[in-house]
Homo-oligomer: 128 residues x 2
């Protein structure tokens, strides 16, 4: 198992882009060559880069505040692939309504020229 | 990208064990060496082999019927790791109540001696 620092950094960068509603950074973070997939909490699967970016635009347009605390539970790297299982403790304001809660996430990255790119994001709400 | 048939077969075997409430097969399917993680739909993260198996026992004890139709959206293999993103169309009877719905899943496997073992299962309900 090689060092996981760069993978954790990429994961942190992803949540930072979300907090800042930074669509350019989000665009930069997703893999540009492979088929990418995204499951937002409670949503059906989204396939395709442009469809995923549009979903982020929609989320950013409807969210006033988003703050994350991320706790990584599992981090693995194999070749040019890496994945992180983490818990997002979040506070958000969506359509004027304050939400506090936790989301479980699986984030899968691929490394290209020493840079990690998201290939798959899966977030799920904790309901029980 | 090598053939993905064996990975799909392992994934199918996982859902078959779920349908049959086969805890011995479920025990066999999960990786015995690595730290394993599991997120059932709406649940918080479960870490550890025995904790995960106990969760399956609890689910099996409370479920009368479980039927899946699985649609794979993304399948990738890198070295001894493989992962599948799939949609579970399911019909279940839990505590006497019939449920029909869809769950998005990310399943990550590791191969040991030509056999795929689950290292991470993440299912999330489609709410919207």
């Amino acid at each position: 198992m090689e060092t996981t620092d760069s993978l954790i950094e990429a994961n942190t960068r992803f949540y930072r882009a979300f907090e800042l509603f930074d669509i350019e950074e989000m665009n930069e973070l997703w893999d540009k060559e492979l088929a990418v997939t995204c499951i937002h909490p409670g949503w059906p699967l989204i396939q395709g880069r442009s469809e995923i970016l549009q979903s982020w635009i929609n989320i950013f347009n409807n969210t006033m505040v988003m703050q994350f605390t991320i706790t990584e539970s599992s981090i693995k790297i194999e070749g040019e692939w890496g994945w992180i299982v983490c818990t997002e403790s979040l506070r958000s304001v969506v359509n004027g309504k304050v939400n506090e809660g936790r989301v479980e996430a699986t984030n899968i990255f691929r490394r290209v020229k020493n840079q990690w790119y998201l290939v798959h994001h899966h977030g799920s709400p904790i309901i029980n």
